[in-house]
């Protein structure tokens, strides 16, 4: 399987969850594990570009597919992904535990709806839980992420929003 563009072999044990494989075998601890039954959304990653729960997949099932984790969004110190930048600007995190899952879900949401309505924003983040209850700023960040993604020179320097 490819994880963030790099080829990896699947684990020997078929019962290894994708979430555990990413964290324990590949050291990609940006993917967080909360409830391990698909409710909290912390472990959300992209599978061939679409967000899925990595705790509800066996790692062997990802063989032949491309997995993107939060580490794969802005690699090696490059500019933040527009969704990350928006969460940063809008203070859309408090403790930060749920953040990687939210970010990956929002990447998927904006791929489906580049200009989401208020209802689409709410539905798009409804599958992720923030126990700090920072939803108001997360909603703002989704709208900001949509703006940033629509900019022609996205990710080039700090851009607007910092001024």
């Amino acid at each position: 399987m490819k994880v963030n563009g790099v080829e990896h072999s699947p684990p020997a044990d078929p019962r290894r969850l994708l979430s555990d494989h990413l964290r324990h075998d590949l050291g990609l601890t940006g993917t967080h594990v909360g409830c391990e039954h698909g409710v909290c959304g912390c472990c959300t990653v992209l599978l061939d570009g679409a967000p899925v729960r990595s705790c509800l997949m066996l790692a062997v099932q990802a063989e032949g597919h491309e997995v993107t984790t939060v580490e794969g969004l802005a690699r090696d110190g490059s500019a933040l992904h527009p969704v990350q930048q928006a969460f940063h600007e809008c203070h859309a995190l408090q403790c930060g535990f749920c953040t990687p899952g939210f970010v990956m879900s929002v990447v998927g949401l904006l791929a489906q709806h580049p200009h989401p309505s208020a209802q689409e924003v709410d539905e798009g983040i409804a599958g992720n839980l923030c126990r700090c209850t920072g939803y108001a700023s997360i909603r703002r960040a989704v709208r900001r992420a949509a703006e940033l993604s629509a900019l022609p020179l996205r990710g080039e320097g700090q851009g607007e929003g910092r001024g």
Binding site: P14, R15, L17, D20, E36, H37, G38, G41, T44, L47, A50, P51, V52, R53, C55, L56, M57, L58, V60, Q61, S105, G108, L109, Q112, D122, E123, G124, A126, G127
Partner: protein, 250 residues
Amino acid sequence: MKPPPFEYHAPTSVDEACSLLGSLDDAKVLAGGQSLVPLLNFRLARPAHIVDINRVGGLDRIYERDGGVAVQALARQAAVEDSEIVARVCPLLRDATKLVAHRVIRNRGTVCGSLAHADPASELPAVLLALGGSVVAVSARGRRVIPANQLFTGVFETSLASDELLAEAWFPASPRPFAILEESRRHGDFALAGVVRAGKSLALFGVAPTPVLADPRNPTNGLEPSGDLEATPEFRLHLVRVLTEKAFAA
């Protein structure tokens, strides 16, 4: 919260999957995994064998057949939700799919898996029942069509035999008016109670061990829903009456 040990099989054809299901003892089919993997993680399910059908080619089609829409075993709920064919032929199925969990779950979960899992509070079994649809079960012994009213036999139980694969579901075109209404504590949760209207037909979910057909004029007749921390039996009956009234007001 980790799956118990099992032997993993990844067939690449329906024939191979059927031959595995016919020869293995205590095997479970893994499709989208959005219900099965939580059960494994909780160790509520401990099958000796997992038959993962995700490598089977050509089993993810959504197509028109016999005046309805057929949805194959690997068609994801998100694909059904976005399908132009489903929107045109059976918009009730599209509306119901939007109520299943969240988009991230629907990216992986399958319609056929939801039917085979037969959760009494889930939407899609009730839609199949209200529409009078059916499923195609295949095994090494052959194939058979199971009508919806003979498929659901109990809580998480169906009339599928242990060697059968639910290969395809068939939803008749939705008659008008149609509606699916449910009440749940949070967006994406399983419903406390729900109703499906397909023309003159009414099916209820979340209020009995299986989805049930009911008389729109007296929808709670004979119902004995269970109570739990989230809703008393009386409240569930109240919801059935109110939701039925709303569904038939159109």
